[in-house]
Symmetry: C2
Subunit: 435 residues, 2 copies
């Protein structure tokens, strides 16, 4: 296809949806991406650029003249531009800011001034503002004059002369209302809003809870400064889920997507916890070392250590996973903790009992003495009960201490449960064997 | 507050956002919920009912007369109604269908006829249909006549006389276009749509990719039958993330939220995999059992089994987690598998080397012989390399075989890695000790 058939390609890619062109471009190498991008019409080009991943955006910016870069940056949507600037080195951003015209430069600087992952940093300042005395026709006239893109047009905000947010009006209500009415008659004054320094997760959850298309953002004086739209909320919810999933497996996820980072970065993201856990496991080795005489006498005790610690680890991983997700989805909070503890104790006993029985039969099936079977079965029961409760309480505790509950990763639980499990196992063995 | 102060409460709760009332109601017991609900104005009541969790909806339905139930069910949004019917027993649904008027009953039956979790099952049939020859004014007139709720009003669909979908028009374009134009001039004919039997995950991903507010659903003859809105897409993306998170911890998540299910259900969701894994772990016990003479001779070999298998399990868990999430987010596909395998092999060797070194020092620190340290270090290196690759390949394989990649749960990887790890550990030990 790349046989200089530019004219045909041009027709083809300008007809596609920008999101598809952006996806298509990732299949080509860097130079071809630049060629492809040059074939796009200006407005399509901006839309495609907004949809590209950061690494591809950076590549394109590097290959363009300052004029072309300035053209793109001045027209692209302010929230997408902030996202791009967030990823670029500070030096490059300073250079790029000079390519913006003064209005856009001021806007970009303000947005970059808000804390990362805050509402202010992700909002779009291009909202529609109306005054309460506008007639429906005047309001529609103003919307036509501003003609904002689709994501910002369906909710207009009503402000007073100090720019305080006093109400919101949907385009639906404007279109459905008789033209003789004024904005004041139809506006909703119970406005749901967030503050510039609220966390992006709260922003996304609020949009989700109230089924909003856009959510207004106000500063500390209640003045309207921008709005966050539902398409950003989806991306945030997905990003936060990925972060939790990675944390649960003890991976420190960086800002950008894991699969796009370098080998060194990937190793670094994973190494810290792996080393910490391996060192933490020394305690387990130490506990077993202390029982070396017992093991030498009853060597078969050592056969079932992996099964015991794995089962404990699995149960603990399950309960910690359930809690971390439950907390993230706001299903778990302080008012039902007590109920959850009781319930999980019951679940732990039941699971432990059944798994202990399976463990007992496992030992007997491997033709080991029944006594060993009883020891293994009992140890599994106790370990399952403890690790279930521990996996549940640790995320709650982390939350209470204002840490991310997902730091209670499943490998951390596993390592803690190992120590407890092995210790109890040998204690039970000593009692039964009168050693 | 519940001192028969009904009048005051009535004023209070009718002013709140329905999503807040729904949340508030969950704090009260069943009877009070019914009392509260009766204090709501009719339109607020419907909106609150739609926002409630299934268990609370069911409770309310049980406490109402048939007339009241009929009133709610006939007016509530068709997609929310399908969701409610999905959870109720078939017998109850049949009874409830008779409380609907004939139009609504037909609509409900059609929606219930589509496969669960398909686009047809979650769509709302209340879309706006326009004809291409309509003027802008006629189009706006039709929208005013239908006056659909907010989620369905911003995108209108253009159909021919056989109801085939031929274009879409946003309310933005209708409001911004000069009134003398016709729908044909401004409609977008490159329509993005899904089919009734497409999976809900594809629906949500499509809405996310193209930043849509609503996505049209067509039947097998390309006839428009409904639309799915962005608020449903958010919920689906979150639901699918929860399912993956739970699967990764080997929990079989049921349809409804885990925290709301009974103890028996919770135990059942977790028991199957725990028993399977405990039984699978028999192979590990068997491998160790075969080395009992070696262990009795060099008892210190047994001290480091937990560290070895935990490290292997942790590394495997990390790589399987990364892959499962990468596949879910469409970041991993067939065209970059080869590159990923090479990269992960490199990562595995690096991680293994460093962790092996840490393992070696651990052994020496516990005052065991250097030879044991070398054996443990080497075994960790090999196990880390293998489990990293295994954790990566298994989800890809499951995907290739059309299974859910998340079935490659971290405990499954751990159990497989145990067997391989313990086996290799003793083989390495035998070589070095010339046993």
């Amino acid at each position: 296809l790349e046989q200089k058939n530019f004219f045909e390609i041009k027709g083809l890619i300008n007809d596609l949806h920008p999101a598809d062109v952006a996806e298509l471009m990732t299949f080509f190498d860097r130079d071809d991406q630049v060629v492809l991008f040059r074939l796009l019409k200006k407005d399509v080009a901006i839309a495609v650029f907004e949809q590209l991943d950061f690494e591809h955006q950076e590549n394109l910016l590097n290959s363009f003249t300052d004029d072309k870069v300035s053209e793109i940056l001045n027209v692209m949507s302010p929230d997408d531009r902030t996202e791009l600037f967030d990823e670029l080195p500070a030096k490059v951003v300073r250079k790029l800011l000079f390519l913006l015209n003064s209005d856009q430069r001021e806007m970009a600087s303000i947005l970059l001034g808000y804390r990362e992952n805050s509402a202010g940093r992700i909002m779009n300042p291009g909202y529609i503002d109306l005054k309460e005395h506008y007639t429906i026709d005047q309001a529609l006239e103003r919307i036509r004059k501003l003609s904002p893109p689709e994501d910002m047009i369906y909710t207009a905000y009503v402000t007073d002369y100090q720019r305080h947010l006093i109400g919101s009006v949907t385009l639906r209500d404007l279109v459905l209302s008789p033209p003789e009415k004024v904005v004041d008659d139809i506006m909703d004054t119970d406005i749901i809003f967030v503050k510039t320094d609220d966390d992006q997760e709260l922003v996304a959850r609020t949009i989700q809870k109230y089924d909003l298309l856009s959510l207004p953002v106000v500063d500390h004086e209640q003045r309207l400064v921008g709005a966050v739209t539902v398409d950003d909320a989806i991306d945030i919810i997905e990003e936060e889920a990925t972060e939790d999933i990675h944390r649960l497996a003890a991976i420190q996820t960086p800002e950008d997507e894991y699969l796009h980072s370098s080998v060194v970065q990937k190793v670094r993201d994973r190494l810290f916890w792996l080393v910490a856990l391996l060192l933490g496991g020394m305690v387990t080795s130490f506990v077993i070392q202390n029982q070396s005489v017992l093991i030498q006498t009853v060597v078969s005790l050592s056969f079932f250590i992996p099964a015991l610690i794995d089962t404990g680890g699995n149960v603990g991983s399950q309960s910690t996973t359930i809690m971390v997700r439950g907390i993230a989805l706001n299903e778990v909070d302080s008012r039902n903790i007590f109920k959850i503890i009781i319930m999980e104790s019951l679940i732990g006993s039941l699971l432990g009992g059944m798994l202990g029985l399976v463990g007992f039969f496992r030992v007997v099936l491997l033709r080991e003495p029944v006594l060993i079977g009883i020891i293994v079965g009992l140890a599994i029961w106790v370990v399952v009960f403890i690790s279930n409760l521990l996996g549940m309480i640790l995320p709650l505790l982390l939350k209470k201490l204002k840490f991310d509950p997902a730091l209670s990763a499943t490998p951390v639980i596993t390592t803690i449960v190992d120590v407890i499990g092995v210790f109890l196992y040998f204690q039970i063995a000593r009692i039964f064997m009168k050693f």
